[in-house]
Amino acid sequence: MTTTAPDHRLLAQPLRRADEAVHVEVDGDTVVYHRGRQSLTVLDSTSTAVWARLDGDVALESVCVELARRHAASLAVVRADVLALVARLVDEGLVDRPG
C-alpha cells in the first residue's frame, strides 16, 4: 500500500458546491444533477455528510476534523477519504475547482 501526503493546500480551503449542481436528499443519500453535463450522481450517506458541508464557509480540514470526531475515526483515514471524494466531485464538476 502506498500513502500520499495530504494536500494541505486543498485542506486549507473552504470548498463550495458548484452552481450547476442541483441536489436532493433521499433516505440519507443524495442525488446530484449537473445542469451543464446533464449527469446524475448518487452519493451514499457518508459522502452526503461531506457534501452537506461544502458550502464555501468552512475549510475542508475542519470538515475532516468534525467528521473524524463524530465517527470516532482516524483523522488521517478521514482526510484520505474526503480528499478522494472531493477530487471525484471536482472532476465531475459538482464542486468548484479550488482556486
Binding site: 442541483v22 441536489h23 436532493v24 433521499v26 443519500d29 442525488v31 446533464q38 448518487v42
Partner: protein, 711 residues
C-alpha cells in the same frame, strides 16, 4: 464462430471499452513533430514551401500535371465547379456525402440526382446519361464512394457526348486505382479529402488534381479570395488555403499511403473470409483490376436473407461496444436540406440500398483480431436473428418516430410535395369522416380523413380521449390515390408530417405524433415519466424505463391479471397532489410480444407490426382513477434471464426515474423534488424480466406486501 452470447441477448460485450468507427493513422509522429516545430519557427504558416512540396509529391503520386492544395474537399469542389461555370443543373448521385451536393449549390448550380449501380453503389452511367439529357446538365459529378473507383470510362463517354465537364468527388479515393491508373487523373478534375476520417489525413484539407493548367491557375487564385496577388480580385473566391502545418501532416501520410491501402485490403479480406457463407450480406463490388482504399468497410444487408435489417444489425454491434454508421442513409435527396427540390426521376436503387447499408469500424492500425471479432458478431447476429428481432421489437416506444415508410413506398412516391399545405387547402376539401374532439392530458385534437377505412379504427383507438371541449390541433389524413403515387399524406394543422404509399406508415406517424404532443403540451403542475402504470386494490404500480425494457408487455400482463390501467407510455404526476393522471392510450404491443400476450389481440389492425389495444377491449372497467404511486418497479427485459424482483434504494431509484423523466433538464430541481416526494410513499424494486407470468406474479407479491403493511 465463437459460441459467446451476443451482448444484446445478455452476454458480455466483445469490446467493453468500445471500438471506434475510425482512428486516424499518423506515421512517424516524432519526425512530424520536429517538422511542425520547424514550420512554426520559420514564421511562414500558410502558402509556403510545405504546401508546394505536398502539391508536387501528390502530383507525382497521382501522375497528373497539377495538384492544388485547399482547406477541404468541399472547398475544392466548390472552387472547381465555380471555375468551370457549372451554374445550371449539375447531375450527381444522391448516394454520397452531403457535401457533394452542397458544393453544387454553393457554386451556383442546381443538384439533380441520378441513381447508382446496385453492384458497387457508384453513379450509374446509364441513368446519369438519361438524366443529363433530360435536364440539359451544365456539369456532372461522380463519387468514388468508399474508395471504389467509378466506371470512369462510361461516365467520360456520357460527359463527352453532352459536352460537359465531369468532376469526381474523390474524397475517399486517395490511393485507389482504376485498371492500374491512379484515381486523380480522370475527368476534368478529381477532388480528394484529407479530413481525419480519411486514409491519408492532414487534420483538415483537400487536394484538387487536374490536367487543365488554366483550371489549376483559377483554383490557386480562388483559394486566396480570388486575389491574383494584387488585391484586385478577379471573382468572389474563398479563403480555402491549406496551412503549412496541415501540409506537413499530409506529407507524413502521403509517403506511405499505398502501404496503408494494401493493409486495409488485407483487413477487408480477413472480414470477407470470416463472414463467408452468411446469407444476405455483401460488400460493394470492386473490379479485379481496380484497387479501393476501403475508406469504409460498408456492408449491404439484405434483410429477408440476413434475418435483420441494417438498423437492427447496428443495434447488435452497438450492444457489443462496436461503433457503426449508415453511410449513406438518408441519401441526399431524402435530407431536409434538399426535400424541397422537385425530384422528377425516381432513384429506386439508391432508396433500397440506403436502407441496407451499415458501416462498421475500419482503420489503418486496426488488428486482424479486431476485424475478426467484428465479423464474428455479424455472423452470430445472423445466426441469432429471430431472438435479436424479438428483443429489439419488444416494447418499442411510441415516442420514437415510426420507421420511415418502406423503400418501395418512397420509390413509388417519387415526387416531393412541399412540407406544408397552402392556406385553405385542407379546410377546402371534403372529408368523409371527422372525429369528435379528443383530449389526452395537455393535448387536444381532432382527426379528419377522406379515407373511410380509418374511421372505425381511430374511433376505437382514441375512444378513451373523447371530450366535449374544442380541439386545438387538427390532424388531416388525405387519401390521394390513385392520382398521386404517394397515396397518403398526413398533416398536423398545415404541417405535413407523413407522406407514404400505404396507409400504415401514415397511421403509425399519427399515433406517434399524438404521444409526442402529449408530452410537449402537458405542463405544470405535471411531471412526466416515461413509464407504464397500473392499479390493483388502490395500489398504483409505476414502471419507469427506457425503450426496449418491457413496459407495455408488463402492463398488458398486469391488465390481464385484473389490474386497472393508467398508461403504457407517459405517467403524468400532479406535483401538488402526487396523483397519477390517467393517460389510457391504446396499448402499443409490438409484433415481438404478440406471442406473449395473445389474449389482447385487437379486432382491428391497420398499422403493420403493432397492435393498438384499447384497454376497454380487455375489460370494460379497465381504466383506473387517478392514483398515488405506492410501488416503483424498474423493469429490464433480458431474453432467457431468470425473472427477479430485487429491492432498490430510493436514491438509486430516483436517479433511474430522473433518467426516464421527460423534459427533466427544463426544471431539474422541481423534477427531483417531486420524485423524492413520490418515492417517499413507495417501495422500489428492480425487475429483471425473463418471462411475463413470473414478472406479474412477483409484482403481485409486492402489491400484497404494500397492502399488508397498510393493514
Amino acid at each position: 464462430m465463437s459460441q459467446a452470447q451476443l451482448a444484446l441477448l445478455g452476454g458480455t460485450p466483445a469490446f467493453p471499452s468500445g471500438l471506434p468507427l475510425v482512428r486516424p493513422t499518423i506515421p512517424d509522429i516524432p519526425a512530424l513533430t520536429s517538422r511542425l516545430g520547424s514550420i512554426l519557427a520559420s514564421g511562414m504558416l500558410t502558402n509556403g514551401r510545405t504546401v508546394k512540396e505536398l502539391e508536387e509529391k501528390a502530383a507525382t503520386l497521382l501522375d497528373v500535371p497539377q495538384v492544388v492544395a485547399v482547406s477541404s474537399c468541399t472547398a475544392g469542389l466548390m472552387l472547381t465547379l465555380q471555375a468551370l461555370g457549372a451554374r445550371g443543373p449539375v447531375v450527381l448521385p444522391s448516394f454520397t456525402f452531403a457535401a457533394s451536393a452542397h458544393a453544387v449549390v454553393w457554386s451556383g448550380g442546381s443538384p439533380v440526382f441520378a441513381d447508382v449501380q446496385a453492384c458497387d453503389l457508384t453513379l450509374d452511367p446509364a441513368d446519369a446519361a438519361e438524366t443529363v439529357r433530360a435536364v440539359g446538365a451544365a456539369a456532372m459529378t461522380a463519387t468514388h464512394v468508399y474508395g471504389t473507383p467509378c466506371d470512369v470510362e462510361r461516365l467520360q463517354e456520357v460527359a463527352d457526348a453532352a459536352g460537359i465537364p465531369l468532376v469526381y468527388d474523390a474524397a475517399h479515393a486517395l490511393g485507389s486505382s482504376r485498371k492500374g491508373r491512379a484515381i486523380g487523373g480522370f475527368g476534368t478534375a478529381e477532388v480528394f479529402s484529407l479530413s481525419p476520417t480519411k486514409v491519408t489525413t492532414a487534420g483538415e484539407g483537400g487536394l484538387v488534381a487536374t490536367s487543365d493548367e488554366a483550371l489549376a491557375q483559377a483554383l490557386r487564385i480562388g483559394r486566396d479570395y480570388g486575389n491574383p496577388g494584387n488585391y484586385d480580385c478577379l471573382f468572389p473566391g474563398l479563403n480555402a488555403r491549406m496551412s503549412e502545418l496541415h501540409a506537413a501532416v499530409a506529407l507524413a501520410g502521403l509517403a506511405t499511403v499505398h502501404e496503408r491501402v494494401a493493409y486495409r485490403n488485407e483487413l477487408v479480406q480477413v472480414f470477407r473470409e470470416a463472414v463467408r457463407g452468411v446469407a444476405g450480406l455483401r460488400l460493394p463490388q470492386v473490379d479485379d483490376a481496380d484497387v479501393s482504399t476501403y475508406k469504409d468497410l460498408t456492408l449491404i444487408v439484405e434483410p429477408t436473407e440476413f434475418g435483420l435489417t441494417a438498423l437492427q444489425l447496428g443495434a447488435v454491434l452497438a450492444a457489443e461496444g462496436i461503433d457503426s454508421r449508415r453511410y449513406y442513409s438518408p441519401p441526399i435527396h431524402r435530407q431536409k436540406a434538399y426535400a424541397s427540390l422537385l425530384h422528377e426521376r425516381p432513384l429506386p436503387v439508391t432508396d433500397v440500398v440506403a436502407d441496407q447499408v451499415l458501416t462498421p469500424p475500419l482503420y489503418s492500425h486496426m488488428t486482424p483480431a479486431e476485424v475478426r471479432a467484428v465479423a464474428d458478431v455479424v455472423v452470430r447476429a445472423h445466426a441469432e436473428a429471430p431472438r435479436v428481432r424479438a428483443v429489439l421489437s419488444m416494447s418499442t416506444s411510441q415516442l420514437v418516430p415510426p420507421q420511415r415508410s418502406s423503400s418501395a413506398d418512397r420509390a413509388a412516391a417519387g415526387v416531393y410535395a412541399p412540407p406544408w399545405a397552402p392556406a385553405g387547402y385542407l379546410d377546402g376539401r371534403t372529408w368523409s369522416w371527422s372525429s369528435p374532439a379528443y383530449r389526452a392530458l395537455g393535448h387536444s385534437f381532432r382527426i379528419r380523413s377522406d379515407d373511410p377505412t380509418v374511421a372505425e379504427y381511430l374511433e376505437e383507438v382514441f375512444a378513451e380521449f373523447r371530450t366535449g371541449q374544442p380541439a386545438v390541433v387538427t390532424y388531416s389524413l388525405l387519401d390521394r390515390r390513385p392520382s398521386e403515387r404517394a397515396g397518403f399524406a398526413l398533416y398536423s394543422d398545415d404541417d405535413r408530417i407523413a407522406l407514404s404509399r400505404t396507409r400504415s406508415p401514415a397511421l403509425a406517424t399519427l399515433l406517434w405524433h399524438v404521444n409526442k404532443e402529449v408530452v410537449r403540451r402537458t405542463t405544470v403542475p405535471y411531471v412526466q415519466w416515461h413509464a407504464s402504470a397500473a392499479v390493483r386494490d388502490g395500489v398504483c404500480v409505476v414502471l419507469p424505463a427506457p425503450m426496449e425494457s418491457g413496459k407495455t408487455t408488463t402492463v398488458a400482463g398486469l391488465l390481464l391479471a385484473g389490474y386497472q390501467y393508467l398508461t403504457d407510455e407517459t405517467v403524468a404526476i400532479d406535483g401538488d397532489t402526487l396523483l397519477v393522471q390517467p393517460f389510457p392510450k391504446a396499448l402499443s404491443v409490438d409484433r415481438g410480444s404478440w406471442h406473449v400476450v395473445p389474449e389482447v389481440k385487437p379486432r382491428l389492425r391497420l398499422v403493420e407490426d403493432q397492435w393498438q389495444v384499447p384497454p376497454t377491449r380487455v375489460r370494460p372497467d379497465a381504466v383506473a382513477m387517478p392514483s398515488q404511486p405506492r410501488l416503483v418497479v424498474l423493469p429490464r427485459f433480458r431474453a432467457g434471464a431468470e425473472t427477479r424482483l430485487e429491492p432498490l434504494p430510493r436514491s438509486q431509484a430516483l436517479a433511474r426515474v430522473a433518467q426516464s423523466c421527460f423534459r427533466f433538464s427544463e426544471d431539474p430541481g422541481r423534477n427531483l423534488e417531486v420524485g423524492v416526494r413520490v418515492l417517499a410513499a413507495c417501495d422500489c424494486y428492480e425487475l429483471t424480466i425473463g418471462d411475463l407470468p413470473t414478472a406479474v406474479r412477483l409484482i403481485d407479491g409486492a402489491v400484497d406486501r404494500v397492502l399488508g403493511d397498510a393493514s
